[in-house]
């Protein structure tokens, strides 16, 4: 399975994430607390040529997934790209309870239906399980809301991708890739905010043409360690590159972003967020010129 979508609509605006302003994020989240507004934005995006949608496993993703199922056109034609896990939830829980309790409670809190669906025995906690078995169960729980939908790829969250790259935990990277490909028939993919580190590591371990989502913008924002190094790796290492943060959290104008991305060889897809139907149409038109 490969990522075929040229343009992918991001999900941050739906869940109140705004990297330029937390206050603006809260205001957008309020608007998108209506699933109808979310679906309306997705429909507009789809009509302008955005064939992919990214969704994290945020608490509200289930409602969005359910609404997509009810829309015949979107459910059959729109590809989903899942980002897992939903880190903010786990970080909050780990802050509050510690790592083991956090994972233990996540598994124990799985509903009876979820337990049946993923083959988890009643009362099973993490203490008796090894890390790979826990990861397998967590992936299954996180993927449940999207069952039956058109999932084209599953991205590992940048915090985990970059941690695994830093620790050079190759067998865990391979385990994730194998699970996603075999269990879900989807393209395993990796989000990174440390493209220099992670792409070099993937190349070192001989990973062939991985799907990677990394920041590319003319401001060099989040292009770590530097814009120059990220551009160099993009040239040298064949991969399916999904460019993210292309507007540098709103700091860069869409036309400037498009001009910059067009100057790079190797950007296969672009993911972007938008806060209104007008905004999504504008961005789809401008950024579409880069990849189409």
């Amino acid at each position: 399975m490969k990522i075929t979508d040229k343009l992918i609509l991001g999900h941050n605006q739906f869940f109140g994430v705004n990297h330029l302003s937390s206050a603006r994020g809260v205001a957008t989240e309020q608007y998108f607390s209506s699933t109808e507004n979310v679906i309306s934005l997705i429909r507009t995006a789809y009509k302008t040529g955005v064939t992919g949608l990214m969704l994290s496993t945020h608490e509200r993703a289930r409602a969005i997934a359910d609404a997509l199922r009810k829309d015949p056109e979107l459910s059959s034609n729109l590809h989903l790209h899942i980002l897992l896990p939903y880190m903010a939830k786990y970080v909050r829980m780990a802050n509050e309870r510690g790592l083991i309790s956090m994972l233990d409670e996540t598994l124990k809190q799985a509903t009876w239906t979820e337990r049946m669906a993923i083959g988890l025995k009643a009362g099973t906690g993490v203490v008796t399980k090894d890390l790979m078995a826990i990861l397998e169960s967590l992936i299954k729980i996180e993927m449940l809301p999207f069952k039956g939908l058109n999932v084209q790829s599953v991205f590992l969250h940048n915090s985990l991708t970059d941690m695994l790259a830093a620790l050079r935990a190759t067998h865990v990277v391979e385990f994730f890739a194998k699970s996603i490909a075999e269990e879900y028939g989807a393209c395993p993919a990796f989000c990174t905010l440390s493209a220099g580190l992670t792409m070099s590591y993937f190349r070192d371990i001989g990973m062939e043409a991985p799907a990677i989502m990394a920041p590319f913008n003319p401001a060099g924002f989040q292009m770590n360690p530097s814009r120059q190094r990220c551009e160099q790796l993009l040239q040298e290492y064949p991969c399916h590159m999904v460019a993210m943060s292309v507007l540098a959290a709103g700091y860069v104008k869409p036309a400037d972003a498009a001009r910059y991305l067009s100057s790079l060889a190797g950007i296969d897809s672009i993911i972007f967020g938008a806060s209104s139907p007008g905004h999504v149409t504008e961005l789809s038109n401008v950024l579409g010129t880069v990849v189409n």
Partner: protein, 353 residues
């Protein structure tokens, strides 16, 4: 020093995992050993990094593996004992915040570090955030003129019930939201304005029961500068921790949070013009080698590694953190005395200096 420094990490919770990853990713350092008393946590890490020496007890790790530096990421009640053992073994130490349960319990470490010449850094990572670092430059350059008032906030939607474990035991954690999150604002205030002369605090433990969930604190500095802190981990609508600070001076007002710096000046001052100047995170970003848990952690750990290699200074050493700890002690004393004014110990401040 040309070879990589060899780092150990003690305590593999969320912060330990982060520092272990950074220690292995940052130029000039490598992860050489870990120690985690909990068998499950340790076995998970052994699955992640199978060939790395892993220990149940830190004395065994210090005896078995030659290390240059150790990241201490255990509950606060054990920080001082472990840090002293590491320094005695010739290691530099990075200690997750808070430094200790009280300033008094940290004194032996402060003395030992002074004698040994080893580096002791404490994880006040907000000093390495581009926005707060810019705000501090503005204040220290005198752009605001004499600062009259400052107002700090931390809020996150995190705790709505009593929990288990060390975080909910004041004997092990030192307290609740003040020492876990509000302490960052206390540190930023001290970093920008110096140590206050007196404090007051009221708090409640509505959800947690054993440690405080809501804190309202007041600060007075020498002269007429006053400040306040409003800190809670039980506030709705904040999926991520929001940290903010607003400083008002004779020339204008400066508002800073995790995302932006906004400056209003009644007349031009330094390189800043009259009226509003707004600076966003992308604009202020100075870049970093990697981003695993946020750029500020990378910059903090890089500063530590550079300092251990004799190539730079750190922003938050044990001495600064000791002073912050004294402010925290006084805030809790005030809370215990129903908000009574508590003066900071001038003798203590002289000892810190």
């Amino acid at each position: 020093m040309s070879a990589d420094i060899r780092c150990g990490v003690i305590g593999l919770g969320k912060m330990g995992l982060l520092h272990a990853s950074l220690a292995n990713a940052i130029e000039g350092s490598q992860l050489a050993a870990i120690c985690e008393p909990n068998r499950t946590n340790r076995s998970w890490f052994e699955t992640l990094v199978p060939k790395l020496p892993a220990f149940q007890n830190y004395p065994d790790m210090l005896d078995a593996v030659p290390l240059d530096a150790v990241f201490i990421c255990t509950p606060p009640s054990s920080h001082i004992e472990i840090a002293m053992a590491c320094v005695r073994k010739g290691c530099h130490v990075f200690i997750e915040k808070p430094l200790s349960l009280t300033a008094e319990t940290a004194k032996p470490l402060v003395d030992l570090l002074k004698q040994s010449g080893k580096i002791g850094m404490v994880g006040y990572m907000m000093r390495y955030a581009d926005t707060f670092s810019k705000a501090r430059d503005i204040v220290r350059q005198g752009v605001l003129g004499h600062v009259l008032a400052c107002r700090g906030t931390t809020k996150v939607s995190q705790n709505y019930k009593a929990g288990k474990g060390w975080r909910y035991s004041r004997k092990e954690s030192g307290g609740g939201v003040l020492i876990a999150q509000g302490i960052h604002v206390v540190d930023l205030m001290c970093w920008m304005l110096g140590t206050p002369e007196s404090v007051n605090q009221r708090s409640n433990s509505h959800y947690s029961g054993t440690v405080e969930d809501f804190v309202h604190a007041l600060f007075s500095w020498k002269g007429d500068t006053i400040g306040s802190l409003d800190s809670s981990w039980s506030v709705d609508g904040h999926r991520m921790l929001l940290t903010s600070l607003e400083l008002t001076g004779e020339h204008g007002t400066l508002a800073v949070d995790d995302d932006t710096v906004r400056l209003f000046l009644r007349k031009a001052s330094g390189k800043y013009s009259e009226g509003w100047t707004s600076m966003s995170k992308p604009e202020l970003s100075t870049g970093q080698s990697v981003d695993i848990g946020g750029p500020l952690y990378t910059k903090q750990d890089e500063a530590f590694v550079r300092a251990v290699r004799g190539q730079g200074e750190i922003e938050s050493d044990v001495r600064n953190a000791w002073s912050v700890q004294h402010v925290i002690d006084c805030l809790y004393k005030s809370s215990d005395e129903n908000g009574a004014t508590v003066d900071l110990d001038r003798e203590f401040e002289r000892a810190v200096r």
